[in-house]
Amino acid sequence: MPSADRRTIYEKSCCGRRAYSLPASDVPQIPLDELVPAGLHRACPARLPEVGELDLLRHFTELSTLNFGVESGSYPLGSCTMKYNPKINEVVGRLEGFAGLHPYQPESLVQGALELMYELEQWLAEIAGLARVTLQPAAGAHGELTGLLIMRAAHHAQRRDPKRIIIPDTAHGTNPASVIMAGYEPVAVTSDPRGGVDLEALKALLDDDLAGLMLTNPNTLGVFDENITEIARLVHEAGGLLYYDGANSNAVLGISRPGDMGFDVVHFNTHKTFSTPHGGGGPGAGPIAVRDTLAPFLPVPLVGKAEDGRFFFDDDRPQSIGKVRTFYGNFGVLIRAAAYIRGLGPDGLRRVSEMAVLNANYVMEGIKDLYDVPFERRCMHEFVASAAPLKEHGVRALDVAKRLLDYGVHPPTTYFPLLVDEALMIEPTETESREDLERLIEALRAVAAEAVTDPEMLREAPLSMPVRRLDEAAAARHPVLHQRFPEDGESCA
C-alpha cells in the first residue's frame, strides 16, 4: 500500500471551494444583527473544510479502504460477536416510515413503530426467559448501569440498602465501571480450576451487604458455569439479585435462558447477538429484560397495548427509576434487531448458537497443539488461547495479533480475560464458512511457526498495513487531539 503521509480533510481544504447547496431564500432578508444580539453573534467562523463534493467522497472512500469490516474478512474478536450484518436490515432501517419519524409525533401517527417496539419487547423477554423489557439503554454498558439502578431501586423498595456487587475476576471491564456509576462497591470473586465461579470463595463473600452478582454465562473464558443454579440459589438466599451480562448470548439462544438459570436482570447487546452493525464504535443498543418483580422499576416509558388494540407509551409508572436516555432508545438500531429476530425465528436463533459453538470448537481443535488452551474442556461460542508457549522465542500475544493482520484476518481480542497469560480470545461466529475458519487456523499456525523461525520479524509486524506499529506512548505523552491549523494562535478578526 502507498506510504505517502495522509492528509486530513482540513489539510485538503481550499478557501472558497464548496460542496453544499441550499435553496434560494424565499423570506425577507432580515439583517443578522436584528436576529441575533451583537454579543452572541459568532466572531470567528468555525474552520470547517472547504472541498468539492467529489473530493469529499474520495477522501472518505480512501479512508474506508484503510479500515477493516466484517465483509473484508474474518473478524474473530472475542466477546464482540463480529457476525455478518445482513443487508436487509439496512434496507428496513432506512424505510422512510421509520427513519422519518419524529419522537414527539402524536401516537396515532406512529402505531407501526410502537407495534414494532411492543413486539420486540415480547421477543426479547421470551429469549431471556424473563417478564418485561426496556429498549431504552443505548449500549451494553448503559444496560448494565440501568439494570444496577433497577436492582438498587428494588432493594430500596424493601427498605434495604446493601452496597456490594460480586463480580468474577473474568468479567468485562464495563462491569466494575458500571457498578461504581450505580454507587455500588465491586467485590471480585475468583475462578475455580474449570474456569467457573469458585463456590467456596463465593460463599465467603455472602453477607447482609450483598446487593447482587454480575455474571456472564458462558463467561469470558468461553465456558459455561455448570454451577449456575447453585450460584443463583446462594445469592438469592443472601438477599442478592443476579445480573446477566448478555455479551455472550450468542452461545445459548434457545438453548439455555438466563431467566431459567436464575438471573433477575439481563442485558442484550443487539450489535453482538442480533446482528446490528457495530459502526466502528456504535450505535448499538442494550435493551434489558427483568423478572416480573422488578418490572415496576423499569425506565419510562414502556410500550403498552390497549384493549382496542392501539399501542401507547406508558409513562404512568410511579416506581420507575426515571429515564436513562432521551426519547425511546436507539430505535434505528432496534428495527434491525427486530428484522433479524423475525427472519430467523426460534429455529434460526437456535441454529445460530449451535453453529457458533461448533465453529469455535473447530478453530480450538485446529490450534490447541501450538497454543495453550488453559481449560481442557469443550468451549462454547468462543475460547481463550494463550500465546505463552511462544514467549521463549520472545514473541507475545501482541506480536501474534499484529502479524495476523498481514494474513488478512482481524486479530482476536488480546490480553483479556486478565487471568490468562498472553490471552488470545477467539470468537469466530456462526456466519464464517469452513474455508474461512480453516484460513484462520492456518494463519494462527503459520504465525506460531514464524515465532520459531523469525521472531524478529514478528516483533516488527505488521509489514503490509498502511502504517507500521504506532507510537501510542508518544500519543498519550503529548496529546494531539485535533487538527493544528497554521494560523492557530492568531485572531480571526
Partner: protein, 465 residues
Amino acid sequence: MGRSVTDYVPHSELDVRTMLDAVGAPSIDGLFDDIPEAVRRREPLALPAGLSEAEVLGEMRRLAAANTPATGLVSFLGAGVYDHYVPAVVDAIVSRSEFATAYTPYQPERSQGVLQTIFEFQTAICELTGMDVSNAGMYDAGTALAEASLLAAHQTRRGRVVVSAGVHPEYRQVLATETVHTGPRPQFVDLTAGAATDFEAAKAAVDADTAAVFVQQPNFFGALEDLAGAAEVAHAAGALFAVVADPLSLGLLEAPGRLGADIVVGEAQAFGNAMDFGGPGLGYMAVTQKLMRRIPGRLVGETLDSEGRRGFVLTLQTREQHIRREKATSNICSNHALNALAALVHLSWLGREGLAELGLMCARKTAYLRQALLALPGVTAFTAGPVFREFAVRLPVPGAQVVEALVPLGFLAGVPAARFAAQFAGADLDDVLLVAVTEKRTRAEMDAFIAAVAAHLASPEAPHA
C-alpha cells in the same frame, strides 16, 4: 437437522458432519453437554416462525406504512430532534461496510480509516464549540449532560450542580436518573416570564458547594441565553460553566468556548442523521485543556509509526473501563461512531460558509413564521427575546388540540409543551406550543400553515379538511 428459513449460516450438512468429526463430538447436542439439564431448554422459543428475506421486508414495510412520518408532512416539530436536509453523500459513506461493520478501532494499523475520521470529528466539534478537547462522541445529549455533571463534581469536589430549567426536560430527567446515587445533587433554576433563564435566581442558587452551572443555548423554548453573564455567575463562585449547545446554531452564534464555557455538551443528530424516532442520535462533549484527563469516552490522537509516518490511535485510555475497570472515569464504551461519521461528512459538505448560511436561513425563516403566528388574534409570545430556529407561543386553545386538528391538513404544528409539564413544576403550559423551522420549510408552506392555524382558531370546532 432441519434448515431454518433464514440464519446466514453457510454450512452444508456435510460441513457440519466434517466439523463434528474433527472436534470429536457425536452430535450438535453433544457440544452443549456442559449445560446442566435443569437449565437446558428442550422446547422451541415461543417466537413467530422464521421468514424469508422477502417476507421480512414485507412485514417491516407493513409496520413502516402504519406510521405517518414527519418527513412526509409539513413539520414544525423540534424540541431536540430536527428535520434538516441530509445530503446524499452521507449515506454513500456511512453505508460502506468498512465503516459500518467494523468494531471499535483497537487495532490501529488496520483501523486508520475510522481513527482518522474520529480525529476529524473531534476537530469539527472543537471548531464549532471553541473548546480545546472533544471526545469521539456520546450516546445522546441527555447522557452527555449526566456525564458532564459527574465530571464537574470530580473536578471541583463539590456536591451540587445548578441547572437551568431551560435545559431540555428529558436531558434533565436523564441527569436525575443516572446520577442519583453518585453524582452531584441537581438544583433546577426557573425561567423568567420570557422563557430565558432567571439569572438572579441562578446567582442566588450558586454557592461554595456548586460544581457547575448548566445552561442550554438556545434553550428548550428557543430563547438565546446570556452565556457570558451565566459564565460570570458560575466562575464567581468557583464553579465550572457548562453549556448544552445546539451545534447547528454555531455557524451563527458565538462559540461557547469564547464566552467562558468549561464544558460543552449537546445533541448533534441534525448533522447527517435521520430523526429515527429519536435514536440513535449523537451526543457530544468538549472541554477545556484543563479537563482533558477527566473527559469520558474515546479520544483519538495523532502520532507516528515506527518509520516516522503519521497515524492515529486511541489515546489517554487509562481513563477508560477496559484498562481501569472500577477506577475508570465512566463505563462508556460506545461513541456512536457511525453517527459521528455521518455528522462529519455532513459538516464537511456544508463547510464553513455553508454552515453559516444554513444557520442564517433557519433564523430568517423562523423569524418569518414567528411574526406571522404572533399576528394571529389570541396568539402571544411565550419565548419573548431573540431565538434561533425554534420558539414557543401561547395559544388561545390547548397546544395538543391545534396539533390534532392540523394533522388531516398535512401539518405537524409543533410540540405541545404540556407533555413536559411534570418537569416544569407549577408552570401553566397547556396552551403553549413549541414551533421549529428548518431550512426545509418554504414560505408557501408557512403561509398555508398560518392560514390553517388562523382558521382553526377562528372556529375550533369546525372541520377544516
